[in-house]
Amino acid sequence: MTFADLLLQQTINGLSLGAMYSLLALGFTLVYGILELINFSHFNVFMIGSFVALWTLQMFGLSGQEIILAGLPLAGVLLVGFAVTMVFCGGLGVVIERVTLRPLRNVKGPAAMITSIGVSYILFNVVLLTVGADSKNFPNPLPAIRYHIGGATLDFRVILIWIIASLLMGGLYLFVQRSRLGKAMRATAQDPEAARMMGVDVDKVVIIAFFLGSALAGAGGMIFGLYYNFTSFIIGFTAGLRAFTAAVLGGIGNVPGAMVGGVLIGLIEAMGGQFIATAWTDVIIFSILVLVLVFKPTGLFGRLAPTRS
């Protein structure tokens, strides 16, 4: 491989990782933007998403790596897989909000954040104790098509992941910017009191933010499974922490910031592994985070959070 091929290959690796981090970072940012709450249960909603996707695909008779689909059957399976996973995880997010976080909404201090950490551990242990600790083989129905660009290879599944992630993120962006509910979300994010006085149903907005964020985490979980072909109860932590970092890096509460932050973290991870060492990945990621925050405390794109009137 020439140096250019190498850079290209690591960019491809980084962008695939970044797509996943971005989807996950959006959930942190949506909720933070509205509630100023760092929702740690998000880590394991993502993990549960990968299991829901696994079981959905298994219901189609897919298991292991042997069955490859193409054309319409593939599109159908993926569509149903994503739909089921996203609706389930979205619903889970709403339940978590309604049962554990809403009662604490007006409690000052870290109570809600600690509760979300607790919920995260509950989800994590429930999966561990019910499905077991070993890594589960995730079906891979995507055809093994590879494109060669110089010495670098680009898998079909990587392209598909980029497309799906871009569609989801683009859809979210349009929803927030264009739709009536999106406008209500932005209004609530700017000033919840004023929004309420103008007739915005704040509870509904919060529920939508949790639903959308958790649904994207679910999609991220399914993408994780399709990309790495395994899942396990433990996948939420490293991915969740890096995605959270991405959200802060981009400017927490800021939707485009989360997307760019995710891609940046992915690229940093890939290039760091090439030119420094994989062992140093976390040191590199968090050093960059610290540097950015020291010089620009609001993150790259500026932090967006409710202003309390």
């Binding site: 600790a133 991915a239 060492a277």
Partner: protein, 410 residues
């Protein structure tokens, strides 16, 4: 409402039921407790269960056949795996060691399986004078007199093994890479654990001695999911071989991604990769072609082990692993030590430790005896090659790992 009396009787009833299975027939015997520490939760759980079953089998036989007259064995089985770690957790292992040491009925111990757990347990076991026999932990530092202050502060060797150490497992595999596979250049990885780092270090040192060019060394975070960056680096360096020191948690993901990125590179790993957890987690075709080792002779297919294998299959409905056999052997050695100390006047921790030092016992793997540090006198390392046998269950180690040879000794 549960009153204190009800609670007491409930508790008593549970305790009696729990004890009943083992004590049957020898109610008047003195109870000898053996602590057992295994990684029953996490990525290595399948292998741990096979080890636990074999251990249990040996002690059940000893009790029913009344091998040590006047004494009944009881096992105190503890789990050093935790959900948060996703695999063995040294902190939990230390807690377990404390529990064994503080229970005065415990006169000997078996385990742990993992060197990282062993390093955490030995200082506590040493202070408590409690000897243990590990069936699979291979990090050489634990028994090395150089580190005696750390791992046996009370002085006496208390860590015995029915496997050899990574002082042989890593280097002998390096010899195999150089002499048999004729690999000219390697990239070495580990999984950040005590075992993984140790075996990768010893592989690397011997590889350099044998003239293999070591192109680089990196460390994987077992909780991370993506190793494509370092694998792309290995590809860009045109490495002929890759050696991964570590256990299944990172190994599963590494095998999958290595298959995509560096399919033609010769891949090797230690006993942490000789496990059904790899077969079920990574699966074929990703695992095909890996060379892995165990720090013991290969016995499952050996005629000497036929009876054990058959009994095990009958009892548990699944095939044992090679480390089931070293665990069974460890149990036999422990039973023998208890028997000899009983005959010599009293079953105490000191007597059991002294008896272990002078062990010379025919077991399934041959005659077990220990050197002055507790290491196994026999130093065989066996090499396997993963070759798909579609007629057998795809997660069956004995079917999918083809035995190649004993790795060349240095």
């Amino acid at each position: 409402m549960i009153t204190r009396r009800v609670a007491t009787s409930l508790f008593a009833a549970t305790a009696v039921t729990a004890g009943a299975g083992i004590r049957a027939g020898h109610a008047a015997d003195k109870v000898v407790k053996i602590g057992v520490d295994l990684s029953l939760t996490g990525a290595d759980a399948q292998e741990a269960t096979k080890v636990k079953d074999a251990t249990q089998m040996a002690f059940d036989e000893a009790n029913t056949r009344n091998l040590v007259p006047g004494y009944t064995f009881e096992l105190l089985i503890l789990d050093d795996g935790t959900a948060t770690a996703g695999q063995y957790d040294p902190a939990q292992a230390a807690t377990n060691a404390r529990r064994m040491v503080s229970d005065s009925d415990v006169v000997g111990a078996l385990g742990p399986e993992m060197s990282g757990a062993g390093k955490a347990m030995t200082p506590i076991l040493s202070q408590g004078g409690l000897a243990t026999i590990t069936m699979s932990s291979t990090n050489p530092d634990i028994t090395n007199p150089k580190f005696a202050a750390q791992y046996r502060p009370a002085g006496k060797p208390i860590y015995f093994r029915t496997v050899t150490t990574d002082a042989f497992q890593g280097p002998n595999m390096a010899n195999f890479f150089a002499d048999v596979l004729k690999v000219k250049s390697v990239f070495v990885l580990d999984d950040s654990g005590a075992f993984g780092v140790g075996v990768a270090d010893s592989f690397q040192a011997q590889a350099e001695k044998k003239g293999i060019k070591v192109l680089g060394r990196d460390r994987l975070d077992p909780k991370a999911a993506d190793y494509s960056a370092v694998l792309t680096k290995i590809k860009s360096l045109d490495a002929e071989g890759m050696y991964y020191g570590g256990v299944a948690q990172a190994g599963v993901k590494l095998a999958k991604q290595a298959y995509d990125i560096i399919p033609k590179v010769t891949k090797g790993g230690p006993d942490g990769m000789t496990t059904s957890d790899l077969l079920s987690g990574a699966g074929f075709p990703a695992v095909e072609g890996w060379y892995t080792s165990i720090a013991a002779p290969h016995l499952v297919d050996d005629g000497k082990a036929a009876k054990f294998v058959a009994d095990f299959k009958k009892e548990f409905g699944t095939a044992p692993s090679d480390y089931s056999i070293t665990a069974y052997d460890a149990a036999l050695v422990m039973i023998d030590a208890v028997k000899r100390s009983a005959a010599a006047g009293g079953v105490t921790r000191d007597a059991v430790q002294a008896a272990l030092m002078t062990t010379k016992l025919p077991t399934i793997q041959g005659t077990v005896s220990f050197d002055a540090n507790g290491d196994l006198a026999d130093r065989t390392v066996s090499v396997f090659h993963i070759e798909k046998d579609p007629t057998k269950p795809l997660d069956d180690v004995s079917a999918q790992y083809k035995y190649i040879a004993v790795a060349p000794q240095s």
